[in-house]
Amino acid sequence: MSTSARPHALLAEFESPAALLHAAEKIRAAGYRRWDVHTPFPIHGMDEAMGLGNSKVGWFTFCFGATGFTLGMLMIWWMGAVDYPLPVGGKPLFSPIFAFPVCYELTILLGAFGTLGGMALLNQLPRLYHPLLKHPRFKAVTHDRLFAVIECADPQYSDTETRRLLESLGGRQLELVED
């Protein structure tokens, strides 16, 4: 780390989930946009406190699942009734009835990939480099520590005001994280 590294964000530690939840409401009310809280477990009510809407992952699931079902039907129809018709015991070459179990499974299979892929896309993961991951104290976020982080790139950010806000909300051990 060179001394000329730009600051990335202001990091503050909070002592309890309730304190962090309360702080999140206030940070949001103060008009910050590029900020986040980092916790070892999801905190009930935090999405509302941060003003985050419903996650869009479900749309990925729906589109992929519908694709799986449609592709399955088309595949079975084309293979059995068009490309290589094989009459057996007078049974129809294609019927959505016997095609259903396979299409049902393909709906779920593609839906699951869509869900995971959608989550990764929306979260911009994998991201193996992150300024916070370099910070020695931040490691404990996956252990038992709770942090709020306000990025220096936020238009509202000010070295003194932001620091004062976090301190007034109960944030402790404030530190600038380098980029």
Binding site: L20, H38, F41, M46, D83, G111, A112, L116, P126
Partner: protein
């Protein structure tokens, strides 16, 4: 976090005692303790029991692969299969293993949708068990084809353009099974991995060696515990649970179609799909208990996998065991009520014919033993629960054997009657599959967190912003 507990104001009024449930984590363990305890298991060298257990399991696994090599190089004649019983232990083992997997998905998906928070202590190990059971199950249908290369070649099972220009037969339930089981294996893996991501981040942040840091870090995808991430993550987890629920119900239904869609008396029954699903969950919970009761004691996890967890699992066994017992009775009733003489004969022969011993082992283990769990005293006795869980495993293996072999061994004409006996290859292959299963499970215990650390933390009162231990103040909203 512990500071918050210390500074707990004295005037916080605790909720009335009758509203308090038994805690999911005993002794008010803190989130830090949970990380230390569970991640620690995979970090320290394994205790002394691990190596002997691992070596025995690897021995069993190698024995199975040896037997499979012998089977493939010689032919399926090395098994005891003969007309009319051309399916026996191979398919029994397949259905047995795939059924075991079902408890993992039930715990992780269905209990998640039902908001059963006790699932958090057991879902990781149960999902791992699912994956390993599906791996064991997958071996049998592939090797039973004899010319294994045909089963594995793209174009025969998986639709893929091939030199013969043919496609798989989509009208066959056996092909539905290929899709059901491979989807099940894949989605279970995705679900398991999704659940692992935050815990892999915990392992990454605790790792001391460079290699571990790199590997755990790679698979943790750069997780930082950001709430903007948790939001999408939790939604994805919920949706995966929603997808896995119809999946798990469909998989054993499709497995049962392998039998029910045929015309054979004893197989051609409409009760099969629900009956197979109930049996699968029953057997799976049996295996979860068989694995977790020793693990809990050997690894000192009594505060996380509590007596209450074991008791609840016993209740699931009691419920599904009763369904299975009802299905056995209903099968007999319909065989009589349906008026088909061949059907009735198949069932009389099942209970009183040459395989009567297998039938009554099944009834003893599956119908009688779960009812011992009506007693709270027995449900909370770990040694007793462990023994009954073994009985459940045995009983459910025999159930599949009874369904498959007793229906096949007497064809319509007495000239086509036979008696199936396994050869040593049959027996050692099956015994060896437990070696494969345990090898994978022991490696999992050694390298990955056996309990979902992040999820268990989330159900502790310390993580609840509306609980005094989570820092809630009286009078305020939180």
């Amino acid at each position: 976090m512990s500071a918050a507990v210390d500074k707990l104001p004295a005037y916080v009024v605790p909720p009335p005692a009758e509203l308090e449930r038994e805690p999911l984590v005993l002794n008010q363990r803190s989130p830090g303790w949970i990380s230390d305890k569970i991640a620690g298991l995979a970090e320290q060298g394994m205790p002394r029991w691990w190596w002997p257990a691992f070596l025995v399991s690897v021995g069993g696994m190698l024995m199975m692969f040896g037997m499979i090599a012998y089977l493939i190089s010689t032919g399926v004649g090395v098994w005891g299969l003969q007309q009319p019983a051309a399916w026996a232990w191979d398919i029994t083992n397949f259905v047995f293993w795939i059924g075991i997997g079902h408890a993992g998905t039930l715990i992780s998906a269905i209990l998640c949708l039902l908001r059963q928070r006790w699932r958090t202590s057991i879902n990781r190990a149960a999902e791992a068990m699912t994956l390993f059971a599906v791996a064991c199950a997958g071996i049998f249908p592939i090797v039973h084809t004899g010319r294994v290369w045909y089963a594995l070649m793209p174009g025969y099972l998986i639709p893929f353009p091939n030199a013969n220009a043919i496609w798989p037969q989509f009208r066959s339930p056996l092909l539905w099974d290929v899709f059901a089981v491979s989807t099940y294996g894949t989605v279970s893996l995705l679900f398991w991995y999704t659940g692992l991501v935050p815990d892999l981040a915990t392992m990454r942040d605790r790792a001391t060696s460079k290699l571990k840091k790199f590997l755990y870090g790679l698979f943790a995808l750069g997780w930082t515990g950001s709430n903007r991430h948790w939001r999408n993550y939790e939604k994805a987890y919920l949706i995966l649970a929603g997808l896995s629920t119809p999946l798990v119900l469909s998989v054993h239904s499709v497995v049962s179609f392998d039998f029910a869609v045929s015309q054979l008396p004893g197989w051609h029954t409409t009760i099969f799909p629900p009956y197979f699903v109930a049996g699968a969950i029953f057997s799976g919970f049996g295996m979860v208990l068989t694995l977790l009761i020793p693990l809990r004691t050997l690894c000192g996890l009594e505060d996380v996998i509590t007596t209450r967890h074991v008791e609840l699992m016993c209740k699931v066994i009691l419920a599904t065991g009763s369904m299975v017992g009802y299905a056995y009775a209903m099968e007999f009733f319909i065989a009589w009520y349906g008026g088909n003489p061949y059907e009735l004969y198949a069932f009389k022969n099942r209970a009183f014919g040459p395989y009567f011993w297998a039938y009554w082992i099944m009834v003893t283990c599956n119908v009688i033993s779960p009812h011992l769990f009506w007693s709270k005293k027995l449900r909370t006795n770990m040694v007793f629960v462990f023994i009954v869980s073994i009985f459940v495993n045995i009983g459910m293996w025999f159930e599949r054997f009874v369904i498959i072999v007793t229906s096949l061994h007497r064809d319509y004409l007495p000239s086509s009657w036979g008696y199936f006996s396994p050869t040593y290859v049959d027996i050692l292959t099956f015994v060896g599959s437990f070696g494969l299963f345990m090898t994978l499970f022991l490696l999992f215990v050694r390298y990955l967190p056996v309990i979902a650390i992040g999820e268990v933390k989330a159900v502790t009162p310390q993580a609840d912003p509306h609980h005094p231990l989570g820092g809630a103040r009286p009078g305020g909203t939180h």
